[in-house]
Symmetry: C2
Subunit: 194 residues, 2 copies
DNA sequence: GACGAACCATACAGACTTGTCTGTTGGGTT
DNA sequence: AACCCAACAGACAAGTCTGTATGGTTCGTC
């Protein structure tokens, strides 16, 4: 039943609990209890709760990053890729009971500022923006217009995630998809006119 | 020095501390100490910390709502009103040290679900969307297009707030304004063509 | 077979949390 | 004068939190 590795068990249950209720609302006592691990083992692998959080965010970011690379290298239309990305966000929200972005939630829930965590969050957010920018560049190669388009996708994605969490509903994501669709077709018309 | 009313003092310092560090990271001991109030007086006016939070959100929402009404009844161009609203968000972020929406932050920082607080947050968010929808209706009276436009403004506003907090910078808000400007001019062209 | 790493259980320190309780002070009203 | 009520101070309960310390067990490798 137990995974053999105590470190993996700790990270796994910490990931579950942090995404479920947020960094601030979960104590290490609960983490070690749910992962069936001794407290001494926890402090053997992690110097502090904050470092556990950092490690969790790093691993989450790494997974997200390789997924973005895979999507970009995949064959297929950039427009479809963007729409599909929003669709998978809907799935995520449904399975995670409408808790939004782990990174954003961690920022809100941090009691005191922690430079390494803040840096990791910035890194992650900028990489998401870059992902959308790459897709935008693919579908509207004209310079300044595609730059704005990518950032607009990014902001719509962030807003949709935030408000789906606040309103405990997926309609903001559907609305964001509608906006994205409209933006794409409008940009096509503009480039056809030029 | 002290305001005469203990209740007002408590609400004021609670508002400051909650917006500064979030609901979860602030205890009532700190609130009563900073407001120079006895603990017994606190529990005389508020049944619990959670109720204090609810009251704070209610008052914040009420202020926001009357401000929206004032803006809508003001003379002036709807387009300028939207842009100006984003500009005042930039001011807010600067003075509040890049802490984002109090309502969104409270959702992330809540340890356990609280129905009255969740309802208050939904109410507030829907009222912001309605505000943007009213402005969109003013500048593009065509039915379905203005509906989408208002929701797009709302999502861009939310995303800009969230990411300005995450990245501790105002560039997401500037980018959102650029997107809004582009959307408005595109919608003008579309209605001119029809 | 010996060494060391990883793991286990458990007790503890010290500071923190929300909320309760007792008792006092002082101004305003009846 | 009697009463009410807001506000005060401060101790207390019962529990939480992170992190440390002690000591014992299992297991792979030299």
């Amino acid at each position: 039943m137990k995974k053999t590795n105590a470190r993996e068990r700790l990270l796994g249950t910490a990931a579950d609990l942090f995404t479920e209720r947020g960094y601030g609302a979960v104590g290490i006592n609960e983490i070690i209890a749910k992962s069936e691990t001794a407290k001494a083992s926890f402090y053997h692998h992690f110097p502090s709760k904050e470092n556990l959080c950092l490690t969790w965010l790093e691993e989450t970011h790494a997974r997200s990053d390789t997924r973005h690379d895979a999507i970009l290298n995949e064959p297929g239309d950039a427009e479809e890729k963007v729409i599909h990305y929003f669709a998978s966000l809907k799935e995520w929200m449904k399975t995670k009971d409408f808790r939004g972005c782990p990174f954003t939630n961690t920022v809100s829930s941090l009691d005191k500022a922690s430079p390494p965590i803040s840096e990791q969050i910035e890194l992650h957010k900028l990489s998401i923006r870059d992902f959308f920018s790459a897709l935008a560049r693919e579908m509207a190669p004209a310079g300044s217009a595609s730059r704005r388009l990518g950032t607009t996708f990014f902001l719509l994605y962030s807003g949709a995630t935030t408000e789906a969490q606040n309103l405990r509903s997926n309609w903001p994501i559907d609305a964001a998809v509608e906006s994205v669709r409209h933006l794409i077709s409008a940009s096509k018309e503009a480039s056809a006119k030029a």
